[in-house]
């Protein structure tokens, strides 16, 4: 038995018929083809699947698709529709905040939640906030620099 779910996805009202056990990340990737949101560990630890639900960062592998009924979901694809990167994406590029890039969409969505509640986070606050995001390439140092720089650019613009 499938269930119908209707939600706002990156500003567009969309619907899908899904099995009730479908995860939000499966809805985003498999039903709507938005593959910027990644599945890393599938055990709610790595944060590669972080998206925003009603403005809050959540791990989309640990939420059912039907729980997003009526909600506003934003993925990494919502940040820009042109070749001009979002300031936080540009900061990751400028500061070499990624190597393989697998964790990056989740980390950027997580970072944007931090900046929304704390526009000028300290290095300690950024590191604490990244508790839920794993990166196996960079050692985090440049990610922290990128988030700090991205936050500053966003404050100005």
């Amino acid at each position: 038995m499938t269930m119908k779910v209707t939600l706002s996805l990156n500003g567009k009202l969309v619907s899908a018929d899904v099995e009730p056990w479908t995860l939000l990340v499966q809805l985003i990737r498999d039903h709507f083809g938005l593959t910027g949101t990644h599945v890393g560990c599938d055990t709610s630890q790595c944060g590669a699947c972080v998206v925003h639900v009603n403005g809050q960062s959540v791990k989309s592998c640990s939420m059912l698709a039907v729980q997003a009924e009526g909600m506003e979901v934003k993925t990494i694809e919502s940040l820009t529709s042109t070749k001009v990167l979002h300031p936080m994406q540009q900061a990751f590029k400028d500061h070499h905040g990624l190597q393989c890039g697998f964790c990056t969409p989740g980390i950027i969505m997580s970072a944007l939640n931090l900046v929304a509640i704390n526009p000028d986070p300290s290095e300690t606050e950024i590191r604490e906030w990244l508790e839920g995001n794993l990166c196996r390439c960079t050692g985090y140092h440049n990610i922290v620099k990128a988030i700090s720089a991205g936050a500053k650019t966003m404050k100005v613009s």
């Binding site: 055990t43 709610s44 809050q56 959540v58 508790e131 839920g132």
Partner: protein, 247 residues
């Protein structure tokens, strides 16, 4: 609705239940999502009590100014749970109903002498947690809210697992009008009080008085993260730090 779903389960924030379903550790016939029940959300003050709705998430508890003013130990505890994304979904009602031996909220409920209000009765903290992942909740009984009396002073400190931020050991010490409570999570099959420390602190509220009190290792957890002996050691070290922090 819950009557119809024979083997149904309530779904709160899902931060434990959804991973548990993925691991096939439980297979309910239905899930009843509580997230749209507005009556289960929110924080209010009544006389000398802070009352927190079961579906209030950890981020909301950590950010609430009235909790920060009246019961900062609870704000600190909520802020120390998991990571921001877990805190944005996980709820107080879900956490205590799950009764994970390493969860933080059980230490708050027991240490602060809270009362758990369900859809059918009030349950004292001392009779709520009954074992490993077990509570005195009956089938189809649902936590509605948790009522915390405001202590004179209280604090919570944990030794977090560096990966999960679950408590290897966490200690809540609170001084109430009617006595002192010391609650320990992470160390045993479920949260427990250390009565010997409470009595010593009643006579003299200082870290020194618990120096010679040791918790028996027989009932403590032993796993890949820590031996029972190490956990017993941590209970004492953390209890002393908590007391020093609020003295």
């Amino acid at each position: 609705m819950s009557e119809k779903a024979e083997e149904g389960l309530f779904l709160a924030g899902g931060m434990t239940l959804i991973p548990t379903l993925k691991l096939r550790l439980t297979s309910p016939s239905a899930l009843i999502d509580l997230s749209d029940l507005a009556d289960l959300k929110g924080i209010r003050q009544e006389q000398n009590m802070l009352i927190i709705g079961a579906m209030t998430n950890h981020t909301q508890v950590a950010a609430a100014p009235e909790i920060r003013n009246m019961l900062p130990a609870l704000s600190d505890l909520a802020e120390s749970i998991g990571d921001p994304q877990v805190r944005n979904r996980g709820t107080i009602g879900g956490s205590i109903s799950n009764a994970d031996p390493a969860a933080d909220y059980p230490a708050a409920v027991l240490g602060l002498g809270a009362t758990v209000q369900t859809n059918s009765r009030s349950i004292d903290a001392d009779s709520f947690f009954t074992g490993l992942f077990e509570t005195s909740l009956k089938r189809n009984e649902l936590v509605i809210e948790v009522c915390f009396p405001i202590p004179k002073r209280a604090a919570y400190i944990k030794f977090p697992n560096p990966a999960s931020r679950y408590a290897v050991v966490g200690v809540m010490v609170a001084e109430h009008e009617d006595g002192i409570r010391v609650a320990v999570t992470g160390a045993g099959p479920n949260v427990f009080r250390v009565h010997e420390m409470e009595q010593a602190l009643e006579a003299n509220f200082s870290p020194e008085v618990i120096e010679d009190i040791s918790v028996s290792v027989d009932s403590l957890n032993e796993d890949v993260h820590a031996s029972a002996e190490y956990r017993a050691h941590l209970i004492k070290v953390l209890a002393k730090r908590v007391i020093a922090a609020i003295i």
